[in-house]
């Protein structure tokens, strides 16, 4: 009876929604709820009940399974990077229109707290805005709220994306694409009037 009997030897089957439908070892006795991620409610309970060992193993898990950083090459060694990100008050903001101003960014991101500074991303050659920026807050909590409530909403009619950043360093305000803008604008195939039209590769062909 109970759960003990079913733990060992069960294959990682895709987990249906239902918990045990009948007494005895539930058919889907699997630590993984459907959809992959823990529901936030479970996170909340988990946080309340957590013992130190669990925190470490949870951190370890995310370390093993983390996605490759979206920017290449990764800076510093990965462990250092993870640490910086967890303490950071700086966000990278992507998918901006080339015409979006610092004023607009400031207005939007001030909704989650006082903004310390904004650094608009620039085309390395033209020194004009090339569609990204960094937003630094005074406190981590304010940056977290931006990640929760501003990430994935619109600025200048475009859905913007925010991500934790390890911290601004001189030189990082420039695009790293060959033509001077962002890498993504080198290779994209679509026509985006707010980001210089077609991708650079398409333009050259």
């Amino acid at each position: 009876g109970g759960i003990c009997g079913s733990v060992s030897g069960s294959a990682p089957a895709p987990c249906p929604d239902a918990p045990a439908a009948e007494p005895g070892p539930p058919a889907s006795a699997h630590p993984q709820p459907s959809g992959g991620a823990w529901t936030p409610v479970t996170e909340k309970i988990r946080h309340t009940l957590q013992s130190p060992a669990k925190t470490d193993s949870a951190a370890q898990r995310s370390f093993f399974s983390c996605n490759w950083p979206t920017r290449w090459p990764p800076q510093g060694n990965r462990y250092e990077q993870e640490k910086l990100l967890k303490q950071s008050c700086t966000l990278y903001v992507g998918n901006l229109s080339f015409y979006t101003t610092e004023e607009q960014v400031h207005e939007l991101f001030s909704k989650s707290g006082d903004v310390k500074r904004i650094i608009i991303g620039l085309d390395k050659v033209k020194k004009t805005a090339c569609g990204f920026c960094f937003v630094e807050y005074y406190t981590r909590a304010d940056a977290e709220n931006a990640m929760r409530f501003i990430n994935g909403t619109r600025l200048d009619d475009r859905i913007i994306r925010t991500d934790w950043d390890a911290g601004f360093k001189e030189g990082r305000q420039f695009g790293r694409g060959k033509s001077g803008g962002q890498v993504r604008d080198e290779y994209r195939q679509d026509y985006d009037p707010a980001r210089g039209g077609y991708g650079k590769l398409v333009q050259k062909s």
């Binding site: 529901t39 309970i45 093993f64």
Partner: protein
């Protein structure tokens, strides 16, 4: 060989691929947690069979995991109130199978209740009380013992010298549990319950309600009165009683298990004495029930329960609980709200919109950060694109219609919400529907609202966009193009004094002059205020400030970053020019003159000037209340600046206080270490370890030095804290003083000319005064004594004094 990545098996990125061979306790505990937390969610099986199954699983695990199971169940009782009846049923089933476990659970809950009350966690305590009550329905707790607990709660109303908010909470805890358990308690103990009811009625009749006007979103009684929360709940419970406790909305899974549960043995609650009042107890503030819809507003489909129906109470409670649990994850929160059980019997979208705006407009502050509600409403619109946007539009329209009686603070929040919301939907709105505002005086609430919304919309886009989105008839309400006003721009017939200097300064800056060089250049600027015999020329010179700042701002006008750079580069010059209070005030005046069409720029520059200590907070307050700013006194941006200034002051005090506390802790640790060292250096050691004897004196001296340094540091920090607190108190005194002067002037003028005091300006101003109290109530409460002695005395006009008294009533 296939080149399958590890992540292809199972879900990527969420669990380690390593599979454990043996069952470790941690895995099982995770599983228990997951099973318990997820019961009641959408499932292919019925809730009843899931509960039955889970009860069986848990019962079997009790021998090995009882402690863990107890902890999880206590946690869900406290943290998942929206699933109350699911978990009470689960506990009921467990109790039926294992009487001892039921007893232990009840004991654990009582312990938890005591803890939460002692830790000022009143909303969690409330959920625990409700949970215990529903356990009566599940035959876990005997009804008479619950009634006894209620009697102890209600007897708090007899305590002397307690704040009203204390007895309020205990009465609320009783009343708010009755929708769940009223029927059962009345069936078993009607005489005692009636007695309790009479006591409560007596209490409610005599309690103070001075605080109510300060907390109402609308001042008008129609169409929906903004009732005090206890009054509303009392009306709802009375109606429920009249209906013989027939309540059909709450989901009660335990009914299906009645045959099993009624066989169970019940436990008696141990006698529970509410913890005594202490000075550091912080009870919840009273609130007003927000209503904006009634049954006439939902055109088709299910009818909205009436304002005094208990169903309305339960629905609102549950929706608030869902938001409280899930506010950090907007997608989950939206999904949870929309899958509310029993949603087919109610106009759910209307309830959700009402509850969300109720929270957004809650006074003093919303339970969660404002921007969360914007993001949540957007998610809801995404999930219900065919119905929710229409309800939201209807709500917006209704709120526009009622702007005349809406509290100014709530209008601010509405402006922020609406403009941000529009910016996510291409600013599409039927502005023509609001053409009525165009015929009104521009200071009236409706045109003012539209004007402020357009200004905020512009900040999120650009000027031409706003021109494009509104009909031409709205041109008077379009914000000014945010360009600067450089006074030394053109050659005019009569050149301005300072024009030549401005050009010199401009050139100097362009040639990368240093701070010293600029100061030397500025020495030649004549002082219009000065007497001829004053040679020094170091006093306050308004022309110097104007020439320098106008020129500097002009050169740096391109963007925020340019202006910030400029202020940083010439910090020394600016500090020099603003040495006096007059200097600080004047720099703000010049800034305003230059950027008067760009309020956003003014805000960020004032922020920078404070943070770089070029001006102080009191200067900003004095500037806002100065006659030159009277013209903009009712504009939203001015109050954003003032409140941001107050917040900076508060954070500054907190920061130094924290440094002081940390230094004190460090000293305490040092002193403890010293004692340890001394114990180590006993005579024995000294006798047998000669080298230690030698170094003993050095060691002692070192630790004494360190201690001395720390003590010095603590003394310095103590002074710093006192000085910061003094500055903070002074800031509030300045602000309140200025308000009193302005309002008194108005009231006297109206009285002498026989005019009604209730002008648009007056409503705005008095509500702005309220706003200071409400938004900074924690800090202000520290200075109540001074405020009462110096400012809010009995001689004050009663209109102004009323605001102060309402504020005091919030924590009485």
């Amino acid at each position: 060989m296939s080149r399958r990545r590890h992540s292809d098996e199972g879900d990527a990125g969420s669990q380690p691929h390593k599979r454990r061979r043996t069952s470790e306790p941690i895995e099982i505990e995770d599983r228990l947690e997951s099973l318990i937390c997820r019961v009641g969610e959408k499932s292919t099986s019925s809730l009843e069979s899931n509960l039955e199954g889970l009860a069986g699983v848990l019962e079997a695990d009790l021998p090995n995991y009882k402690g863990k199971i107890l902890r999880i169940l206590c946690a869900v009782a406290r943290l998942l109130p929206e699933k109350l009846t699911v978990y009470t049923t689960l506990v009921g089933l467990l109790n039926a199978r294992n009487y001892n476990f039921g007893g232990e659970f009840v004991e654990a809950m009582i312990r938890q209740l005591k803890e939460t009350l002692k830790s000022n966690l009143y909303s969690e305590a409330l959920y625990l009380v409700r949970f215990l009550n529903d356990l009566v329905n599940c035959h876990v707790i005997a009804a008479p013992s619950m009634v006894a607990m209620f009697e102890n709660f209600v007897s708090v109303t007899q305590e002397e010298d307690i704040p009203q908010v204390r007895s309020d909470w205990y009465v609320y805890a009783v009343l708010s549990s009755l929708p769940w358990v009223g029927k059962e308690l009345y069936e078993k103990k009607d005489v005692e319950m009636d007695r309790l009811f009479n006591q409560i009625e007596g209490y409610l009749k005599y309690r103070q309600k001075t605080h109510v006007p300060m907390l109402q979103v609308w001042t008008a009684e129609k169409p929906h009165p903004q009732e005090e929360y206890l009054d509303c709940l009392w009306a709802q419970v009375q109606k429920l009683k009249k209906d013989r406790w027939q309540e059909r909305h709450i989901l009660r899974p335990y009914i299906a298990f009645d045959s099993v549960l009624c066989e169970a043995l019940q436990h008696n609650l141990p006698p529970f004495t509410p913890p005594a009042h202490s000075d550091d107890a912080v009870y919840p503030m009273p609130h007003v029930v927000f209503r904006m819809f009634d049954y006439t507003d939902a055109p088709e489909g299910p009818v909205m329960p009436g304002s005094h129906s208990v169903e309305r109470f339960v629905i609102e409670e549950n929706l608030h609980c869902i938001i409280k649990s899930h506010w950090r994850e907007r997608k989950t929160c939206a999904a949870q709200l929309l899958s509310y059980p029993g949603k087919n019997k109610i106009p759910l979208n209307y309830h959700i919109v009402e509850v969300i705006f109720g929270e957004l407009f809650q006074l003093p502050s919303p339970p969660h950060i404002d921007v969360m509600y914007t993001a949540l409403l957007i998610e809801l619109c995404k999930l219900q694109p065919g119905s929710l946007p229409q309800v939201l539009a209807q709500a917006t329209e209704m709120m526009y219609m009622r702007l005349d009686t809406m509290n100014t603070i709530c209008i601010d929040r509405l402006i922020n919400w609406f403009s941000h919301h529009l910016s996510n939907f291409q600013f599409r709105w039927s502005w023509d529907d609001w053409a009525d505002c165009l015929t009104q005086d521009i200071e009236k609430p409706k045109p003012k609202f539209v004007k402020e919304v357009l200004e905020k919309c512009m900040r999120l886009s650009y000027h031409q966009r706003i021109v494009d989105i509104v009909p031409p008839s709205f041109s008077a309400l379009i914000p000014a193009n945010p360009v600067c006003s450089y006074k030394y721009e053109e050659e005019t017939e009569c050149p301005l004094p300072g024009l030549a200097m401005a050009t010199t300064v401009s050139n100097a800056i362009k040639n990368r002059a240093s701070n010293e060089e600029i100061l030397i250049v500025l020495k030649d600027v004549p002082n219009p205020n000065q007497d001829d015999d004053d040679d020094e020329g170091d006093g306050f010179n308004p022309l110097k400030i104007e020439v320098f700042l106008q020129t500097l701002l002009h050169l740096a006008a391109k963007s925020f970053s340019h202006s910030f750079s400029a202020l940083a580069k010439f910090h020394e010059v600016l500090k020099n020019l603003t040495d006096s209070d007059e200097g600080k005030l004047h720099i703000l005046r010049v800034l305003y003159e230059f950027w008067r069409n760009h309020p956003q720029m003014i805000s960020v520059l004032v922020d920078k000037l404070i943070r770089t200590q070029i001006v102080d907070c009191a200067a900003v307050a004095n500037w806002i209340f100065s006659p030159e700013m009277a013209h903009d006194f009712t504009r939203f941006y001015v109050w954003e600046i003032l409140h941001s200034t107050i917040r900076k002051m508060n954070k500054h005090v907190q920061k130094i206080q924290k440094e002081l506390d940390e230094a004190k802790e460090k000293l305490e640790k040092q002193q403890n270490k010293k004692v340890e060292k001394q114990i180590f250096l006993t005579a024995e050691t000294l006798l047998f370890k000669p080298h230690i004897r030698e170094h003993k004196d050095d060691m002692e001296k070192n630790s004494e030095d360190e201690e001395g340094q720390l003590e010095e540091q603590i003394e310095r920090l103590q002074e710093k804290v006192e000085s910061a607190q003094s500055e903070q108190k002074n800031l509030f005194l300045v602000i309140f003083q200025r308000f009193i002067m302005l309002l008194t002037e108005h009231l006297v003028r109206c009285e002498t000319s026989g005019v009604d005091i209730n002008t648009t300006w007056y409503k705005n101003c008095i509500e702005r005064l309220q706003q200071i109290f409400l938004m900074h109530h924690v800090i202000i409460q520290q200075y109540m004594g001074t405020l009462e002695n110096l400012l809010f005395t009995a001689e004050l006009d009663h209109h102004i004094l009323a605001v102060y008294q309402q504020f005091c009533a919030l924590q009485l």
